[in-house]
Symmetry: C2
Subunit: 383 residues, 2 copies
């Protein structure tokens, strides 16, 4: 698997060398010095989506430099009935990079949802650890003076609101609130989570294909049975391995037990903003060991499916991530360009997504594809 | 003007013969026996829009037969700080006739807006007296046990939310709430009234082109300076004159000092549901005194402009209403069909709409037409 040479020579941000998953945070707090690792780790887990993290990285660094470190808390450390605020951007990642946030959207969201619930929040959570949506809530947490929760609702990034572990656990998206830069504040109490998607997406499209949101407000007790535990620690760990250069890619591949699906050059990219999402496809012409092979990737905010000669090489819910080969920097779907020299990796999603219930919501058929999911390690068992 | 014979032989519903406008209600309460006159009067004031009243008529009759009469109150009878609920349908009138309401939507709307304002409502108002939207709030008022206010926010019907006298007076649409039959409840706190239109319309389109709404919640003190006073009394008065048959049309024409724009047959009707509105156009081939003449009417929920040989015969904000010639029944824009024998009348809007501020919001240019408003009595001064 290690095609990039030596591995595990950990440099960059100093993190404990945690080998497996963790049930409690690897640290007590996230300071400005950890943001870079968090950004890179979230990008790898993001399957190309969740928004390009560049703006959010700057926002988080600015916030933390002003407020000091944000405590990273385990769900076990929060009171059973403490309200957790899952904060995220909704919309098309291409827009996130163009419309700059104030960084204080969390204050409006918190006030509106506390008004709806009649109770105060005790912590912020990323409902989507992947991409910029794993980083931005940290900036909001800093501004709110609330801790960041070491968990998320996907363990990756996904394009629609019901594609969360909270939904699988039967929790409602409502009451939900979205806000925009004009101070429009919309609150949704919907009949189910699919209507939440439809209505939040529709309004977000009206509001410029980008809103800040609180979705699935819940108690810590509910969060313990409905989230992917340790997501932030995992992102920090992976991000700390992903040092600049091919070296970093190799380390991340090993850490994630990932499959390298292609090393080559972008020869075709088609991308459009369609109803609040980025949609399109990508073709990679292989080089080196992959010479003479074409990998085709289909996109809806995230990289959904990788195909070669019509054969599925990886698909949702497993995670397909594109990195720039030379630098090891993850390229989100909104940043893909013709001619980029990239490495495409794929790795297993959180096991919850491979259950029948998980596949019904986040598997290939849920995305409109007419094939059954096969775990990436089975597809590539011959390798 | 009276082309239909004898006039002012008042029959039908028994109403005081009020000749001019009233500043206080002509009665103390509206009972089931008054609904028919209210429906017909609102239809005439509706310019073809505000929704076909048939379903709403049945709902109002059912509600009043169960609850007894609803008090009709003057704004002067309400406490200065009493909250008034302007309740209405938003969406495409064609849909209102197909999706049947429960009649209890007002309870959800009232609860949500009282939660937003932290205060209880004292009365219901029709923000739009024209068409079904002048009738439905009466049914809701009955179910809520609240009085109905003798005022509205248009004096007619109009297709967009900022086209109200409340908007002209500087009152906000927000906080606004919309609900649908699935129990989706959306609350809007928007940066201005145009964004309220955009976001409420967008969500309504998602929710099936029809929602029940509370818009512009306000105190009685604010309502006194921002509404068309006496609208319900006027609708009742006009409706009581509009007895079945050509006789009724003649009486209404006289009462309203209306111009008969055409008597003839519908020879072309083009209509579609477009983004939460009914849009289209109508062509009337004249007969009798109008033989050899074609009248063309353009529609956006309401009849906006009447043209003959390219010349404007009447336009917003003045009110253009289509009645079935034989019966005197108003035909709303969603009920127009090829071959109907109709009489088209036009009459003056409330004077507020003829001011520069009123025309800027509700005049022909606000509707996208490239001509200045001329009052209907000036256009037809030669007649």
């Amino acid at each position: 698997m290690a095609i990039f040479g030596p591995k595990y020579n950990q440099v960059g941000v100093s993190l404990p060398g945690v080998a497996g998953k963790v049930d409690s945070p690897a640290f007590d707090a996230i300071g400005v010095e950890h943001v870079d690792a968090l950004v890179r780790g979230c990008a790898v887990l993001g399957a190309g989506g969740g928004g390009d993290a560049y703006m959010f990285k700057i926002m988080a660094e600015l916030a933390l430099s002003e407020t000091g470190p944000v405590p990273l808390v385990s769900l076990d450390d929060l009171p059973d009935d403490g309200i957790i605020l899952p904060l995220a951007m909704v919309g098309a990642p291409m827009v996130f990079a163009e419309k700059i946030l104030s960084g204080f959207e969390g204050l409006t969201l918190k006030a509106a949802i506390e008004d709806a619930l009649g109770r105060e929040a005790v912590a912020v959570m990323a409902p989507e650890i992947g991409g910029g949506n794993g980083v931005l809530p940290l900036a909001w947490a800093a501004r709110l003076g609330l801790p960041y929760t070491d968990a998320d609702g996907m363990g990756r990034a996904y394009p629609t609101i019901p594609m969360t572990t909270m939904h699988l656990a039967g929790l409602p998206v409502s009451p939900a609130v979205i806000v925009d830069a004009r101070d429009n504040v919309l609150r949704f109490d919907t009949c189910d989570n699919f209507w939440a998607e439809r209505l939040v997406r529709g309004s977000t499209t009206q509001m410029g294909a980008m809103t800040s949101s609180v979705l699935y407000p819940m108690t810590a007790a509910d969060a313990r049975r409905s989230t992917v535990i340790g997501s932030v620690s995992k992102a920090l760990r992976v991000g700390s391995l992903l040092v600049y250069g091919t070296e970093g890619v190799s380390r991340a591949v090993d850490e994630l037990d990932a499959v390298v699906l292609s090393v080559g050059r972008v020869v075709d990219i088609e991308r459009r903003i369609e109803y609040g999402w980025v949609r399109g496809s990508l073709t990679v012409e292989g080089s080196g060991d992959f010479r003479g092979r074409l990998l085709h990737i289909e996109i809806q905010n995230e990289n959904l499916v990788a195909l070669e000669d019509g054969k599925v090489m990886a698909s949702v819910p497993d995670i397909i991530t594109v990195l720039e080969t030379e630098s090891g920097v993850v390229i989100s779907t909104d940043r893909l360009r013709y001619g980029q020299r990239i490495t495409v990796i794929g790795f297993a999603a959180d096991p919850i997504w491979r259950t029948p219930a998980g596949l019904a919501v986040g598997g290939p058929r849920a995305m409109g594809y007419d094939f059954d999911f096969v775990p990436i390690e089975e597809i590539h068992a011959h390798a």
